[in-house]
């Protein structure tokens, strides 16, 4: 468990811990054990949207073999999944279903926005029916650029997510969403309005970028 980036137990240095481990004594904490375990068994939802889904399948096949990272168990039901890989263009017709799937997944859950379309609308951003990024409705942990990203990029994103999980604190103000009562854990499903989805974005999750203008110009 020396791959844990977080600081070791107080009162004992990392070198001493490594020395103890060589002697067959494992010194750990509940937090380390918990995050280490959950980071290596992230089960993705078997959910493909568009082109990127093919590369997601390719990542689970023999050449790239996502099983090396403990994520080969693609679950068809959101109730059994930990990770939502938004793999492709989210249209406005599809966005309510994606948010509903996210709501149906039990905590702790993570979201990877795979590809340019899921991040911002990508090449189809100017389309009238395309959502300009899934992070308007659900919190995204990892963004993977590319159109489509290579399977290696997806694996890199997964490793980044694992590092993020291993850095979680179980208590205190830095604890993740599912361990804190003061953070929202339900995400309203948007509805079809007269012209656009209602609401056009979830204000708890997404803040519109602030444009800073150069005063001199």
């Amino acid at each position: 468990m020396s791959d844990n980036p977080s600081a070791p137990t107080p009162g004992i240095t990392q070198q001493e811990r490594d020395e103890l481990r060589r002697q067959g004594i494992l010194l750990t904490s509940i937090q380390e054990l918990y995050t280490w375990g959950s980071s290596h068994s992230v089960w993705p939802l078997n959910f493909g949207l568009a082109c990127c889904a093919i590369e997601m399948i390719a990542a689970s096949m023999a050449k790239f073999d996502i099983a090396r990272f403990g994520s080969e168990v693609f679950r068809p039901s959101p109730r059994q999944a930990d990770l939502l890989i938004v793999s492709g263009t989210v249209t406005k017709k599809m966005a309510p279903q994606v948010v509903r799937l996210w709501d149906q997944m039990p905590e702790p859950k993570y979201c990877i926005a795979m590809g340019a379309c899921a991040i911002s609308g990508g090449p189809f951003k100017q389309g009238y029916n395309v959502l300009k990024g899934i992070d308007r409705y659900i919190p995204v942990d990892i963004y993977i650029p590319g159109c489509p990203p290579r399977p290696e990029a997806l694996l890199h994103g997964l490793v980044q997510l694992q590092e993020k999980i291993r850095g979680f604190k179980l208590t205190g103000p830095d604890a993740p969403r599912h361990l804190r009562a003061d953070l929202p854990c339900d995400y309203p499903v948007p509805e079809f309005g007269a012209h656009d989805l209602e609401p056009p974005a979830n204000p708890d999750v997404w803040k519109a970028p602030v444009l800073v203008r150069n005063e001199k110009a």
């Binding site: 078997n46 959910f47 493909g48 949207l49 568009a50 082109c51 889904a53 093919i54 590369e55 399948i57 390719a58 096949m61 023999a62 050449k63 068809p76 492709g88 263009t89 249209t91 017709k93 599809m94 279903q97 799937l101 379309c117 090449p123 189809f124 100017q126 389309g127 009238y128 029916n129 395309v130 159109c147 489509p148 290579r150």
Partner: protein
């Protein structure tokens, strides 16, 4: 009327549909399959009305991946639409590129050098291998052979994608064809790689067929399921392997003989029953024919320029007029209809997507079948939602 009235080989379109609440015969069950369903090959939804396990009614719902392809293409230049055609049918970007290039070349009267025609044929046939291999894998996944055939298929796919990547720089979205030729000249090394792939592909197909073709479970599962009659297929405008599985001899490579296809010796495999097994077999046999075309094309590819030196890419403005370019894609006839008003953007841009047209007969094939069979019937149609919804 009982469920036994339905012969699986002769489903009667529309004639046996009864009310959802029929006190005499019990309740029918409406099931919404999709848009999130592992077997719908993307975000496609079927509203299926079931009597027990039998499908009585099937209503497809499209549009979950409608990303305004045609509208965007009308607001961008002719060349600017080329990368978007990659994302139509994202398994076969090379053939989409080619169909679009043919349409624009017809519109502007642009000739194509001979070497480019050969390269296009080579890439289109490699794409056919890629698409049919993946389709066979996905179809077997739908049948319940979880994993193994798909893993074999994707192993071969990676070899093909390595070729595509070394040629065009991208695995899936190749963006390779241009009006009047191709973007990069394939090197001698690349052609050797393609020869090696072609020579080894037959051995892979032998291995794949040993697993699948004579497999008793697969035969019991797919033979006589989802039969499509040649009359209905012609009336509905079905093309590609779906049409040829019903026994209709129609292949644009022979009918139009576009490009340099008239120089190659190959046969068009035809089915007899039009069921799921025939559709699988047609694809396997087409791959064998594609290997033959590839061997001939790679042996006789001439030297010369890859782009017409007079071809104009930037500031391209075809004269006013209209053109329809079509080729035999792996899924059927993929065509692009363009209307030009002399400006840099097309006035109207329309895609004729094979998988969308082939999908229109889904209900006729599924009526009277079990719900589990509807899954493999959909799998055998070979749809890609990027192309269906555009």
């Amino acid at each position: 009327m009982s469920a036994n009235d339905f012969s699986p080989l002769a489903p009667q379109a529309g004639s046996h549909v009864r009310e959802v609440h029929d006190p005499l015969h019990g309740e029918l069950l409406e099931v919404s399959m999709g848009p999130h369903h592992p077997s719908t090959h993307g975000v496609f939804r079927m509203i299926v009305t079931l009597d027990g396990e039998r499908v009585m009614k099937l209503k497809p719902v499209f549009g979950y991946l409608h990303r305004n392809h045609e509208k965007i293409a009308e607001n961008t230049t002719y060349l600017g639409s080329m990368p978007y055609t990659d994302r139509l049918d994202y398994l076969c970007s090379m053939t989409n590129n080619w169909a679009y290039a043919i349409a624009v070349e017809k519109l502007s009267g642009q000739p194509v050098p001979e070497r480019a025609e050969y390269v296009r044929v080579i890439l289109a046939e490699i794409t056919r291998l890629l698409n049919h291999t993946c389709l066979a894998g996905f179809l077997m996944q739908d049948c319940g052979c979880s994993g193994t055939p798909l893993m074999y298929a994707f192993r071969e796919r990676e070899k093909i994608l390595d070729l595509f990547e070394s040629l065009s720089g991208s695995r899936m979205m190749c963006n390779y064809q241009r009006f009047g030729g191709c973007r990069v000249d394939p090197s001698a090394d690349w052609l050797d790689g393609a020869r090696k792939l072609t020579d080894n592909y037959g051995r892979f197909l032998d291995e794949f067929e040993t697993l699948l073709t004579g497999n008793e479970i697969i035969m019991a599962r797919t033979q006589g399921v989802g039969a499509l009659s040649p009359e209905l297929a012609i009336n509905a405008g079905v093309t590609g392997p779906m049409l040829r599985a019903t026994g209709v001899n129609y292949d644009l490579r022979k009918v139009d003989a576009y490009g340099v296809y008239s120089r190659f010796d190959f046969r068009v495999p035809l089915g007899a029953h039009g069921d799921v097994y025939d559709r699988y077999m047609i694809r396997v046999l087409e791959m064998r024919e594609s290997i033959k075309i590839l061997q001939q094309a790679l042996a006789t590819i001439p030297a010369g320029p890859i782009m017409d030196p007079k071809a104009k890419l930037r500031g391209f403005r075809p004269k006013a007029g209209e053109a329809y370019g079509r080729i035999e894609g792996p899924k059927g006839e993929i065509g692009f209809y363009l209307v030009s008003d002399g400006s840099p953007n097309p006035y109207r841009y329309r895609v004729r997507p094979p998988s969308f047209v082939n999908l229109t007969v889904l209900e006729d094939m599924c009526l009277g079948q079990t719900i589990a069979d509807a899954v493999i019937i959909l799998g055998s149609v070979d749809i890609v939602l990027g192309e269906v919804d555009r």
